[in-house]
Each structure stands twice: as C-alpha cells, then as structure tokens.
Point group: C2
Chain length 186, copies 2
C-alpha cells in the first residue's frame, strides 16, 4: 500500500452549532502538495433499522427531506445521540419513536461510512426481526413520518421506480436481504 | 399522502466557493413550525461505475479519504462536471482518468440521493461490462489512486471486513450484482 494519509497542518472551525460542525483543514499530501481549505463535516454516527415483521414484510417510513425537497421512502433511522448507551439502543429508540414498533431481535449488519470524503460519521446498519407495533409514534415537532409494512416485491418496486431513492438506505436494505437469505427473491 | 414540503421563507448563502456551497434556509413546516437555520449543501451530482471485466471480476479503487482519515476501497466515481455532456459521459471519463480503463458497454442502474436530508445531489450508478485497461491513469495532483480487479468472493469479503466501507458505493455494487444476476453468488 503506497497510499499515505494527508497531514493536517492547520485546522479551524467555521461553523459549530447545534446542527452543523464545519471544519476547514489545511492539508499536505504525501508528495508535499498543499490543499487549503479542505472542508470536513464532523457529524454524529447514524443508525438504520431494516425491520421485518413475522410475515416477512419490511417496515418503511416516508418523510419530507429538505435537501432534495422531496418526500422520501426510506427505513427508520436517526442520529446516535451522546445520551444513547450504544448504537443498538439508538436504533431501538429511533424505531420506537418513528413507528411505535419494537423488535424481538436485532443484529448489526455492519458499520459503514456515509461519505468518507467529507464527513467523519458512520452508518450502523441493523436488521430487526419480529417487528411489531406496540405504541404510538413519538415525533419531534418538526417531524411528520408515515410508516407501513411492505412486501419484498413492493419494496424492490419502490427502489426501481425511484420512490425509495436514498442510496445509503438501499445499501442497508440489500445487506439485510442478504443476511435474511432473500437475495434470490429480488 | 399527508406529508407536505416545507416552505422556504428566507434563504442565504454562507459559503459559496469552488469546493462548497452552503445555504441556510428559514423554513416553515405544514403546521406552521419555523425551522431556522436549516443547512443545505448544494452539490453537483456524482457518478459511480461498477465495472466487470470479461472474467467477471469487479474493478475497485483505493484512495485516501480525508473525512474519515482512512484509505477506502470503493468503485471509480466522481463529480459530474458542468462540462460533462451527460452522467454517462462523466462516468466514462472518471473510469478512464482513475484507472485507464474503458468499457464495452455501460448501463444506468438508477439515480439515487446521496443524502436528501441535507444535500441536493444525486448518485448516478452505472454498471459497465467488458472493462479493460487501455491507457495510463490521468489523476489530479492531489489524487493517489490504486486500482485492481477482484473476484466476487474477494469483493464481498472486503465489504464484510470493513475495508470496502463506503455505504453509497456498496449500494451501487449490490444493485450491479442484481442487474448482472449474481446475487445468488454472495
């Protein structure tokens, strides 16, 4: 491996508030090239939950996303807070808050980078089995989330037609289908 | 569908340079809640190329990513420039620049959002067949990219061990394996 990390010669924060931490680094590559500024977003890790009910249907949510200015179909997800004991607990909390559902069993599918070029954070993808509704949603004032269980054919059709178009979530879904031995069905 | 887009009441640019366009919106949700600021990154679309050679091996690259401060295994990818005639042309250009390879045939697997919560841009995922090396790499001064063809087993092992950990790229890879009828092999 001849690829070396860049050295950070200087670093300053341009924005550091509740919603965004934006850092500008002055970097030096292995061959001495200076890159200045290189912007990095320091972000908390995220958790995704790909949940199956006892009939093998997958739990999806729909919400407005202001970056794309579209309503996106996706899986329950959220930021892993400092108050969360673990990524698993964060995933359980998000599942319950966004859909009122709990799972009989959850397992981590892997930990991935959301965008390692500019973001520090990772995605912890979980598969959940035996998901069922036990409570009402508990949403933030700015959240409006609809949810439903869909069969595999419907899920793949949402992906193929672009209604379920979050690439990071598609990754979690396909890894969950692999884990659950369902890839030959799609 | 009861989910309504937010209204943008005001909008201002905080950073608008060669590398980053950061916008702060004052938004109003459907029930009148004000969200201010909501940060949005206006970004150009990206292209991914999941390329197969005639032996069914997949072309991967490795490069240093400064957000994660790690060397990442991934697929050839890049920004779709204003000068690119189309996403397909951008994908061909990136494939050639990063690896010196061309493809006999390329096909779009879909267009997805990279992070619709805060980013405007989309990922155009391509599958490429008959990929072969015809030239030397043509890299920017700050780029240092290694590439190799790996068999399917190796590719999945890189994903499972976390060496190939870019979630957006995993999505493109798995969709390409689906397109190529290889999901029963992983």
């Amino acid at each position: 491996m001849t690829i070396k990390p860049w050295k950070i010669l200087k670093s300053r924060y341009l924005i550091r508030d509740k919603w965004l931490t934006l850092r500008a680094d002055m970097c030096e590559t292995d061959d001495g090239t200076i890159i200045d500024p290189f912007y990095v977003f320091e972000k908390s890790d995220w958790a995704h939950v790909v949940g199956f009910d006892d009939e093998g249907r997958v739990l999806i949510v729909r919400q407005y996303r202001h970056g794309s200015q579209t309503v996106c179909a996706e899986v329950p997800c959220g930021v892993i807070d400092k108050d969360d004991v673990s990524p698993l607990e964060a995933a359980k909390r998000e599942l319950l808050e966004e859909t009122g559902c709990v799972a009989e069993r959850m397992e981590c599918l892997g930990v991935f980078y959301a965008n390692p070029a500019r973001q520090t954070n990772r995605v912890h993808s979980f598969i959940a089995f035996g998901v069922k509704k036990v409570a009402e949603q508990n949403l933030d004032k700015t959240e409006n989330i609809e949810f439903e269980f869909v069969d595999l054919q419907t899920l793949m059709s949402l992906i193929d037609t672009g209604e379920f178009a979050q690439s990071l979530h598609i990754s979690s879904v396909l890894l969950a289908l692999r884990k659950n031995g369902l890839l030959d069905k799609i």
